[in-house]
Symmetry: C2
Subunit: 139 residues, 2 copies
């Protein structure tokens, strides 16, 4: 038995790729249109960890996707949580829970999927601008 992926629905592929690929740092593995079913699937994964994927489903008929409380978040370990949060912020992503402790942060995808980021290994020393950055919204 093997974990394959977590699927999330997205309303805008370009905005989602800016978030998951360009800002968060996942690698785009494949993208395929299914004209008969009128949807597009994009698979991404952390570089070097391609067996655990995230599947973006884009349905061509517009839908609005609310969130629910039964799903919590996706969690990724990162090499440098400050560098990851800086890159996310540069792409316009709100750092909902800044890494004040040098260890943990939360952000949300354009469709409200909560993402937990954890520093690999020991926490980094607290550092500005994160150390004094307040929480923003919920995650």
């Amino acid at each position: 038995m093997k974990y394959l992926h977590t699927m999330v629905r997205v309303t805008d592929i370009d905005a989602s790729l800016r978030f998951y690929r360009d800002a968060l740092g996942l690698a785009e593995l494949s993208r395929k249109d299914y004209p008969q079913g009128r949807y597009t699937l994009v698979f991404l994964a952390a570089p070097g960890d391609e067996s655990a994927q995230v599947e973006l489903t884009f349905n061509w008929e517009p839908e609005s996707y609310g969130g629910g409380r039964n799903f919590g978040h996706l969690a990724y370990e990162v090499e440098d949580i400050y560098a990851t949060c800086r890159r996310l912020a540069e792409h316009g992503v709100t750092i909902n829970r800044p890494p004040r402790d040098g260890r943990m942060a939360f952000v949300r995808s354009p469709d409200g999927i909560s993402i937990e980021l954890l520093q690999r290994g020991a926490a980094q020393a607290p550092a500005e601008p994160w150390r004094s950055m307040p929480n923003s919204g919920s995650w």
Copy 2:
């Protein structure tokens, strides 16, 4: 960068372990109570694939958890999709999308988290009772 886990919230740990562990077949890796935060965390993973986990969060204050459309499902590959579906059914789980094609099935956790099951390798030959079993509900 590395995928760590998908977190889901659960309203009943015992019912959730019957589903994720006993019926679905994940292994329970750890369980810890956090009395100060008044929550319990349980981590599970597919046997032999322990680096990709699912985290169950049980908040001690009762909450009711609705689902949202932005989250789709968790997907697992299994050795024998018929054996997995049989074990799920024996534990009282509705097979929402039976494996009529010998390849794919969907079920839901007690809190409505959709789980996709995919037969490893080639599809199995269609077989009863699955071949003629209708869909049930949504997934």
